[in-house]
């Protein structure tokens, strides 16, 4: 069966049932490069999958945690407005408010793809604890008022149908499609209102609706109806206005609450709704966590941790963060990138089977096959390690598999230990430097992490300037920073001595505090005198300057005790950093854990299709390594594929292209490529084949969107791109 036809565009292929059983493969079966050799591919795949599941669970947990705040306040809002509906106080203010629809404007930020999850958990929470009547509206389903109403009715009453099914099962058999009830009845707010009163009255009488009562606990007998507008900006303003106006008419009978999901800024509400409409709403603003904070948490929990053995190299992390910052602000896409890099790491690195927890890795290292040992020997980091060893050991390492396995085990252990120390020290350094003016080592810990992954951080200028600044820190600030550092370092078992040292320093600072209190008083008393004298001496600017300078120099000469101590503590921290914040590339076997193919990742996540097409057209040699196509910058040879030549020629034109001229020019080029003398008359001659090739090339350009037919002039086409070469 072919897949081309002049009458059909869709072709369905179903394997016969027998064949299906035999040949259906799982994802794991594709987890090798097409050669079915490596037996460890299965274990690699399993490791990859389990790791991914853990990471995914972790991200979900993180997201939930982050959302709790905003969701809680929203729930609180819903409850409070419910209460105000039910309160029967008859003062003027509450009556005024009673005619307004309580509205929550939820500002979520521009990362629209991430919103879905927030709304999902929001509606689930609302249904659980406030009201069973929650409606989610999306702009794409609501292009007219009628559809909005229909959607609301279907979601609410469809829900009620389900509830009734539970209550009296005898007259219902099988699930009923939720769309049906709406079709029969008139979609209007009045219908909804009638339905609502019926339902609430029914639930008010205690016998039938036990379930609903229990589900809508805390809301009394009149649970509110919550309508969520997921993407407010894309709704048609008119539809929205009408819906609000109509709803406000029924607010007395039908306790409505609106939630607007806003991606940009709360101003849009007033842009979309005129005053007359927005005055019907009682809007309260809710701001969700910014996506950068969200990302910071995700990175903190997934990347800067020893929980997951899989690590990203500096370049990869940079690509992922750049995509986030420059393109979409979407945490979801960041996680997708993480997933892809995880998958690609396990797919392309045969040694990645060792990328698992410590115990597991050790047992796996014991059972390495000869091939794996060879692979280890090929690793550049391992080679570097071997070179550093004694000659005899070198020989052993290169010849004996067992030796390699032993060394691998110990190296893996070291790597794990390295990671255990690395992250606390990193956090500690970040705690020290993140509050410095101008943030020489970055405001976010990921920036510092990026630097540390790339090179020896203490050799950078940023580090130097950060320490210069630290050397000027006031005492209380320094002590506070040191305290946080010790807190952080306490988490790591192996950094006990560092913690001790720092604590000792803190103690000495405090001691300094107490004993210097007396001394400084005396000193200050002494120093206080001369300036007063100087001031009395009725000025002379030069004199003043001189005396100030003098004092300055005196101060630098003599370091106080505090200053000495400060230098000492910073030296201590410096040594800790130098010991533990080595870049991972310095560690042997780091290839097992670190994924470094940033190029692959970027090409798959953030591709530039147009650039690819235009490169192929401009410079076919990039793809077709043929000598005939070799050329220097900006040029192509006349032997290039037709479409390249035609494209090159069309770049010479302005907005309109004369087809005849184009064809002629093309024919000249092709004739030359065929070896004819370009000046002879034969070259200008056009044969059918050339004509046909030209037609094909031109229609391909049209297909690609470079040109389009135009009626401005006969036998002309319009160029759709502008700019050249």
């Amino acid at each position: 069966m072919t897949t081309s036809s002049v009458s059909k565009g869709c072709f369905v292929f179903k394997p016969s049932s027998k064949k299906k059983k035999t040949t259906s493969l799982k994802a794991s079966d594709y987890f090798h490069d097409g050669k079915a050799d490596s037996q460890n591919s299965e274990s690699r795949f399993e490791t990859c999958q389990s790791l991914w599941q853990r990471m995914k669970a972790e991200t979900e947990r993180v997201q939930e945690d982050l959302n709790t705040n905003i969701l809680d306040s929203l729930l609180e809002f819903a409850r409070k407005s419910t209460a105000s509906f039910q309160s029967k106080t008859d003062d003027w203010a509450s009556r005024m408010r009673a005619s307004e629809i309580p509205t929550a404007a939820l500002v979520l930020g521009v990362n629209v793809p991430d919103h879905a999850m927030t709304f999902q958990s929001l509606s689930a929470l609302l249904q659980e604890s406030v009201t069973p009547y929650v409606v989610c509206l999306q702009s794409k389903e609501c292009s007219a008022l009628k559809q909005v109403l229909q959607k609301v009715l279907v979601q609410l009453m469809g829900h009620s149908v389900c509830v009734e099914d539970d209550d009296d099962e005898e007259d219902q058999s099988g699930p009923r499609p939720t769309g049906i009830p709406s079709r029969k009845m008139l979609c209007s707010m009045a219908t909804l209102c009638g339905w609502y009163t019926a339902v609430t009255q029914k639930s008010a009488s205690p016998s039938p609706g036990k379930k609903r009562l229990s589900s809508s606990k805390g809301c009394g007998q009149r649970p509110p109806v919550v309508v969520i507008f997921k993407d407010l900006e894309s709704f048609t303003p008119r539809v929205l206005q009408e819906f609000i106006v109509i709803s406000s008419q029924y607010i007395q009978q039908l306790p409505l609450i609106f939630i607007f999901g806003i991606a940009t800024s709360p101003i849009t509400i007033h842009g979309m709704l005129p005053h007359s409409v927005s005055s019907l709403l009682c809007i309260q603003l809710f701001q969700s966590l910014s996506c950068t904070q969200h990302l910071a948490t995700v990175i903190d929990k997934l990347v800067l941790t020893t929980t997951f053995p899989f690590k990203l190299s500096g370049k990869v992390l940079q690509v992922l963060i750049s995509i986030f910052l420059y393109h979409d602000f979407s945490v979801r896409n960041f996680i997708k990138g993480l997933q892809l890099s995880l998958l690609d790491h396990f797919y392309s690195q045969p040694l990645s089977m060792l990328c698992c927890d410590k115990q597991e890795a050790r047992s796996r290292a014991k059972e390495l096959s000869h091939e794996d040992c060879e692979n280890i020997r090929q690793l550049p980091s391992f080679m570097r390690y071997v070179e550093k060893q004694e000659p005899e050991i070198q020989v052993q390492l290169l010849t004996c598999d067992k030796r390699v396995k032993d060394v691998t085990q110990s190296l893996l252990k070291e790597l794990h230990a390295y990671h255990k120390n690395y992250y606390p020290v990193l956090r500690c350094l970040h705690a020290l430097t993140s509050s410095l003016p101008k943030y020489p080592l970055g405001k976010q810990i990921r920036e510092l992490h990026g630097i540390c992954l790339e090179k020896n951080v203490w050799e950078t200028e940023e580090y130097e300037s950060a320490f210069q600044l630290l050397r000027m820190l006031a005492k209380d600030e320094l002590v506070a920073a040191l305290r946080t550092c010790t807190e952080i370092l306490k988490c790591a078992k192996k950094l006990g001595d560092a913690v001790e040292k720092l604590e000792e320093f803190i103690e000495r600072f405090e001691l300094l505090d107490r004993c210097s209190a007396v001394v400084e008083m005396g000193q200050e008393g002494e120093e206080e005198l001369p300036p007063q004298k100087g001031l009395q001496k009725k000025t002379d600017l030069f004199q003043l300057q001189k005396s100030l300078l003098e004092r300055e120099s005196r101060r630098t000469k003599k370091l106080s005790k505090f200053e000495l101590l400060r230098l000492a503590v910073l030296d201590c921290i410096d040594s800790i950093v130098k010991k533990h914040l080595l870049p991972p590339e310095s560690q042997p076997l780091h290839e097992v854990f670190y994924y470094s193919s940033a190029g692959t990742l970027r090409r798959h996540l953030n591709a530039a299709p147009r650039t690819a097409i235009q490169t192929a057209l401009n410079n076919p040699y990039c793809y077709l390594q043929s000598e005939a196509l070799k050329s220097e910058g900006g040029a192509i040879s006349n032997a290039a594929p037709d479409i390249c030549i035609v494209y090159k020629l069309h770049l010479e034109c302005g907005r309109l292209i004369n087809l005849y001229d184009w064809l002629e020019a093309y024919a000249t080029v092709v004739a030359a490529a065929e070896g004819k003398d370009p000046d002879s008359a034969a070259a200008a001659q056009l044969d059918d084949v050339k004509h046909a090739r030209f037609i094909r090339a031109v229609s391909e350009l049209e297909f690609l969107g470079f040109i389009k037919p135009t009626k401005q002039k006969t036998d002309h086409v319009a160029r759709l791109t502008w700019g050249g070469c």
Binding site: V6, F11, G34, K438, A598, N638, V669, I695, E702
Partner: protein, 565 residues
């Protein structure tokens, strides 16, 4: 964002992304230099790490990581890709072209058969960078000339250049090898400069016209560095575009029709078959990876020059034969989202019954697939950016389909602006992984439907279907159709022809003894309508007008053929 060109030729381009904020800071920085630096800096006077960089000044947005590093990271990628072409290579601006540039380029291409030619168009960047004033002057002369619509003057120079070219071809070819292209460019420039001076030299005779021209001094003052935006608008401001008036009528060869085209192209051998094969082999090596990634919830989109149909077809036959899959030809001119959804619901899910709208159908598919997680459905869409699938609604539905966990989508795109049809939200629904698969295969199938500009519209398809239907009709019915067709042909030159009104038609049919009552005629017309042979339209006066929605040429062909039989 802007791209900066290094003053080196071609390859080594450095592209830096510069945000608005930072551009602003650049400006602010300069002013600060006068007023005194930041307070912090004076206080501390430390060795600032990146003195020259924009971050130097108070940077609110420290989130933005060092973009230099980002570019470095990108650079590594570009090196991997074996073709380090920066964006600047592709997206540069070019001023208005001269009308005979194409011929010029062609002759230059032709003149050096073996080795490659540098284009005069290359507008060599060093020149532009080192002497901006000169370049700007040149550009201004370039678009001044056509934009003023001084056609006579322009035309007078063109033949001159051509004449020169034709008269001394040998000299030209000699100089080509010796001179760098920029020389020849200068020569032309000089000519243009001279031609531009013509109106200025005799201001007395052309006083009003000369008034339109700005003096060169003024120009130099006004455009010290040409901004790209200005260039764009200058290039597009003039409504007149100067091209030669020659038409395809001049060709000895007649317009080709689709069949001859195919026949001719079948004969041509493709060059570089070895390289193409190599390229294909590389792509085929990815099949396993694709399958893996598809099954893990990603969807795959292929891009790059050349038809990806054969590649996908190969993928299908080698990987997907064991599973249920649907192939969709997005380039098919009458594909609709409805037909795609129908083929899924009816043929894959074996559901009988109709849906009110695609959204309902979508919901049904989502529900059914969710209930049966073992059912793995593969969707293969050739050209998801096809003409009929470009709509926002369609892409939305496709995105929803792609988001179903056990539906796997692999698609290809070809149009250069295809990614524009996906916004953030759709992108995240599609969950694309991009794969570059440049094949250089001709788009045979894809363009065969397209009514190409150069191919004669034979209407063979419409004609054959017309004759097919006609054969199954009674002689009377044929007569009725013929009557309508003839009437339409009579009125082919009448632009306000709306169709034949039913009453008129009935009258004519009666006169020709084809029908005896208007009910017979109506039944007949219903049959025509079912076969899409006619269309009815309500006129302004409420009268039904009948029209045959077929091109005049095809229709007359049909009548001729009928006459023969």
């Amino acid at each position: 964002m802007s791209s900066q060109k290094q003053p080196k030729e071609g390859r080594v381009l450095e592209v830096r992304f510069v945000g608005d904020e930072e551009v602003l800071q650049h400006i602010v920085d300069k002013q600060e230099g006068v007023k005194g630096k930041n307070a912090v800096q004076i206080l501390v006077s430390l060795k600032t790490p990146r003195k020259s960089e924009p971050e130097d000044s108070e940077d609110e947005d420290h989130e933005v990581c060092n973009e230099q590093d980002y570019v470095e990271a990108l650079g590594t990628a570009a090196q991997d890709a074996s073709c380090g072409s920066g964006g600047g290579d592709v997206f540069t601006f070019q001023a208005v072209k001269r009308s005979n540039r194409m011929a010029q380029l062609a002759s230059e291409l032709a003149r050096t058969p073996g080795k490659s030619v540098k284009f005069t168009t290359a507008d060599s960047p060093p020149e532009e960078v080192t002497s901006p004033t000169r370049a700007s002057k040149r550009q201004s002369t370039q678009y001044k000339t056509p934009s003023k619509g001084k056609k006579n003057q322009f035309v007078s120079t063109t033949p001159h250049r051509l004449r020169k070219r034709l008269s001394a071809p040998n000299l030209r070819s000699d100089s080509d090898s010796d001179f760098s292209p920029s020389n020849s460019e200068e020569e032309l420039e000089a000519e243009e400069e001279a031609s531009k001076l013509v109106p200025e030299s005799k201001p007395a005779s052309k006083a009003p016209a000369a008034g339109l021209y700005k003096t060169p001094v003024k120009k130099a003052k006004k455009v010290p560095e040409p901004s790209l935006v200005e260039e764009y608008f200058e290039a597009h401001s003039s409504s007149k575009v100067l091209t030669s008036d020659r038409t395809l009528q001049k060709l000895q060869t007649p317009q080709l029709d689709q069949d001859t085209l195919c026949r001719l192209l079948d004969g041509t051998s493709t060059a570089f078959s070895a390289e193409l094969k190599q390229l294909n082999k590389e792509h085929e090596r990815l099949f396993h990876k694709w399958m893996l990634q598809l099954q893990l919830g990603f969807n795959i989109v292929l891009f790059g020059l050349g038809s990806k149909r054969t590649l996908l077809e190969k993928f299908r036959t080698s990987m997907l034969l064991g599973s249920i899959h649907v192939v969709i030809n997005g380039f098919f001119p009458s594909i609709t989202i409805r037909s795609i959804l129908n083929s899924i619901t009816e043929e894959v899910l074996e559901h009988e019954g109709h849906f009110r709208n695609p959204l309902d159908q979508m919901d049904f598919i989502v529900k059914t697939l969710k209930e049966d997680p073992d059912l793995q459905l593969f969707l293969l869409i050739h050209n998801i950016d096809g003409q009929m699938l470009r709509g926002d609604k369609t892409q939305q539905i496709l995105g929803q389909l792609a988001a179903i966990p056990n539906l796997h989508l692999i698609a290809s795109i070809d149009h250069i602006n295809a990614p524009l049809s996906w916004d953030q939200f759709k992108m995240s629904q599609f969950n694309w992984l991009w794969y570059e698969t440049t094949t250089y295969q001709p788009y045979i199938e894809e363009t065969s439907y397209e009514n190409s500009l150069l191919v004669k519209q034979s209407g063979a398809l419409a004609l054959s279907s017309l004759t097919h239907v006609m054969r199954s009709l009674t002689p009377n019915a044929r007569g009725i159709f013929r009557l309508l067709a003839e009437f339409q042909l009579e009125n082919k030159d009448n632009p306000s022809y709306t169709g034949l009104s039913f009453q008129d038609f009935y009258q004519r049919c009666r006169e020709a003894f084809l029908v005896n009552s208007d009910i017979t005629l109506r039944t007949q017309l219903t049959e025509f309508r079912d076969h899409k042979l006619i269309r009815t339209k309500k006129g302004a006066d409420g009268v039904e007008y009948l029209i045959i929605p077929i091109e005049t040429g095809t229709l007359s062909d049909f009548l001729e053929k009928e006459d023969k039989e």
